[in-house]
């Protein structure tokens, strides 16, 4: 995973609230097979006019089409667990999303993809939104847990220590668990088989699915 250290960019202002993952990445594109290239479908239905005259979606409007930070309203990324919502933001170039609140699954998906979601209270959020509107660059310093404005003001933000480390070091979570916790997992499984054997399906039980046959294809 790409490491996240310090990011300096203008921020795209998208003040709408309740932008759910269906709006971020419409379901019909979930048939696309890969993680890469999904920036094309990001907010697809809002982007009917990508390069013509007339009103364009903020992420198609210079200078914000170059923004690597998105500032948006509350309840961003609620709904479906589709990680495509994060993949499409990352593919578009967005590495940080700032909102008063997030959908929980979206929030945790961000950390698996080098994207930093920041929760700010109303006052702080308003200040960041104003800077975004004015296209003033912001610096996101993850190590210091601070957002720095062009005029020198800074705003602190909170982040879970483990998630911070994951982003800073670009850690492979699976690798970490396999390296550090396998003995604990094996020990747990052995105990569980003794204490709650019904939680482990037997070969006989799974035999119920032996006659399923082939998929039509």
């Amino acid at each position: 995973m790409e490491k996240f250290a310090t990011l300096t960019s203008i921020a795209a202002p998208l003040p709408e609230t309740h932008l759910d993952t269906d709006v971020i990445f419409p379901a019909r594109f979930l048939l696309l097979p890969d993680k890469k290239g999904l920036g094309e479908q990001l907010f697809n239905e809002r982007r009917s006019n990508r390069d013509g005259d007339g009103p364009r979606f903020v992420l198609d409007t210079p200078p914000w089409n170059q923004a690597r930070i998105l500032v948006t309203g509350r309840a961003f990324g609620t709904g479906s667990s589709r990680e495509q919502a994060v993949w499409s933001l990352a593919d578009f170039g967005i590495r940080c999303v700032i909102a008063p609140s997030f959908g929980e699954i979206f929030f945790s998906n961000c950390f698996k993809n080098g994207v930093l979601p920041i929760v700010l209270d109303e006052a702080a959020h308003g200040a960041v939104m104003a800077a975004a509107d004015a296209a003033q660059p912001l610096t996101i310093d993850l190590e210091a847990q601070a957002i720095r404005f062009q005029d020198g003001r800074t705003l602190p933000f909170a982040i879970d220590p483990h998630r911070k480390r994951t982003l800073l070091e670009g850690l492979d979570e699976i690798g970490l668990i396999l390296a550090d916790d396998l003995a604990d997992i094996s020990g747990f499984e052995a105990r569980q088989r003794q204490e709650r054997p019904w939680l482990h399906l037997t070969r006989e039980q799974l035999g119920y699915l032996d006659d399923v046959g082939e998929e039509l294809r």
Partner: protein, 468 residues
């Protein structure tokens, strides 16, 4: 020491270890695998040369992208066919049981998990799908995860989690005629908002719970995510045990007795403390319908479309106006005057046999309005065959509905079942988001009987006005 909640008990029994920062490595007993959230996870395993830690803990099925008609032929070549094929190949390569789309055990993951007895009380269960909270109806900790987390579960059978706060929703009283658990959960979401359960694991409790069937409890827990919570649970009781006993993957014989003895201890202790408590008097609830583009934008069907001009807060006013614009509604218009084009009965929320029985009860001897096109999509092949055995398919067909094969269908609109731009649908599904049922489509969420009543009237209507 104060008592523990249901959530605490299941959590504690699955904590492999606690890290320095207080987070927990949680053991995952069961994982349901579908075609949308798994391909990238399997790719990740292949890229790193990793195997599944326990292939016996997963069951795979394609539910999102499969068509609901012409199932006797292979999917026409295209993205959906390739996505399903990829799941078949991955399941085979990694040794996971796969249920084909025409098998008698096929269905939406959240319908077949319980049908198989794969879902058990006191277990942890995950799936790359946000409606995994459905399985909490059995007293399991069940939650939706992203594709990366699916990969973690495949490789390690665990997931690192921070424990949620505990929230109890007490349901008081008994619902009136025509009022279902769907109305109760919609009313709850309207009350607490789509962020109401954020950061919390919800336990549904109170006197109204005991009277709910397992299917009703599944509908209730299913929409916990729409209240902002990944986890919604109900303590297991005799209703739970009666549902599970004899299911193919449920324990049997002496093991069953041993399991039930433990399951009886899972209920929250009398002195357990919740971080948040909410009460809802269900006897005061009327049938609900959503009017906007988030599930909290829901009202009793006797109400009217809200007027943004009456909202003092500018942000809320803008939000209301945006919803009304998308939904094509006029402020002050009675909800019962909203004409509809389509009706969808199905989904992991309301695609089970009791849902179909109730909708058929409304439709029996009636015809749907000529302007309305309706489909019924049973949540599983098992539901479909049970409905056919009871003659429900005949009632739906005679009323003018199409009778389809199992899948997610028009709840997620990844197959051909979708709304055209501007079409308006009375839907028993769970999300009324913009474009959820097709680009530019307009969704009104409601119960199966309310959807049936809307189909007959050709507009949103109060099922209680129809009589019976």
């Amino acid at each position: 020491m104060t008592g523990r909640t249901l959530y605490d008990k299941v959590w504690d029994s699955h904590a492999v270890k606690t890290y320095e920062d207080g987070s927990t490595l949680l053991y995952v007993d069961r994982h349901l695998v579908q075609e949308v959230s798994s391909p990238q996870a399997f790719d990740g395993l292949k890229a790193m040369g990793r195997a599944l830690r326990r292939p016996d803990a997963h069951v795979a099925v394609a539910d999102h992208a499969v068509p609901t008609r012409m199932r006797d032929k292979p999917l026409p070549d295209g993205l959906a066919a390739r996505q399903v094929s990829r799941l078949v190949d991955n399941a085979r390569a990694f040794g996971v049981p796969y249920i084909p789309m025409n098998d008698r055990r096929h269905g939406i993951v959240h319908v077949i998990g319980p049908e198989l007895g794969f879902t058990l009380p006191g277990a942890t269960l995950v799936c790359g799908d946000s409606h995994t909270c459905t399985h909490g109806a059995f007293g399991a900790i069940a939650f939706g995860i992203g594709a990366s987390e699916c990969e973690t579960v495949f490789a390690t059978q665990t997931i690192r989690q921070t424990k949620q706060k505990r929230m109890r929703v007490r349901l008081l009283g008994a619902p009136g005629p025509g009022v279902t658990v769907k109305d109760i959960i919609l009313a709850l979401i309207a009350k607490v908002g789509t962020g109401g359960g954020f950061g919390h694991a919800i336990e549904y409790a109170g006197p109204a719970i005991a009277a709910l069937s397992m299917e009703a409890r599944m509908t209730l827990c299913n929409m916990s995510i729409e209240a902002g919570s990944r986890v919604g649970m109900v303590a297991p009781d005799e209703t739970t045990f009666a549902y599970l006993q004899g299911r193919p993957l449920a324990p049997a014989g002496a093991l069953w007795d041993r399991a039930v003895a433990e399951w009886r201890t899972l209920a929250s202790d009398a002195d357990a403390v919740f971080d948040r408590e909410v009460e809802l008097d269900v006897s005061a609830i009327a049938p609900h319908v959503s009017w906007g583009t988030t599930p909290e934008e829901t009202l009793p069907v006797t109400g009217a479309v809200p007027d943004p001009a009456a909202e003092p807060d500018p942000a809320r006013r803008a939000r209301l106006q945006k919803s009304l614009d998308y939904m094509g509604l006029t402020p002050g218009m009675p909800l019962k005057e909203i004409a509809i084009d389509r009706v969808f009965i199905g989904s992991c929320t309301n695609g089970r046999i009791e849902d179909l029985r109730r909708a058929a009860g409304v439709l029996s001897g009636r015809r749907i309005a000529p302007s309305v096109q309706g489909i019924v999509v049973p949540g599983s092949a098992g539901v479909r065959s049970q409905a056919e055995a009871e003659g429900l398919d005949r009632i739906f067909r005679d009323a003018g509905f199409e009778w389809r094969a199992s899948g997610c269908s028009m709840c997620v609109a990844m197959n051909d079942d979708r709304l055209a731009e501007g079409e308006r649908c009375a839907s028993t599904s769970n999300r009324n988001f913009e474009g959820r049922q097709g680009k530019g489509g307009r969704t009104h969420l409601m119960s199966p009987e309310m959807a049936a009543a809307a189909a007959v009237a050709g507009r949103l209507s109060d099922v209680r006005d129809l009589g019976r």
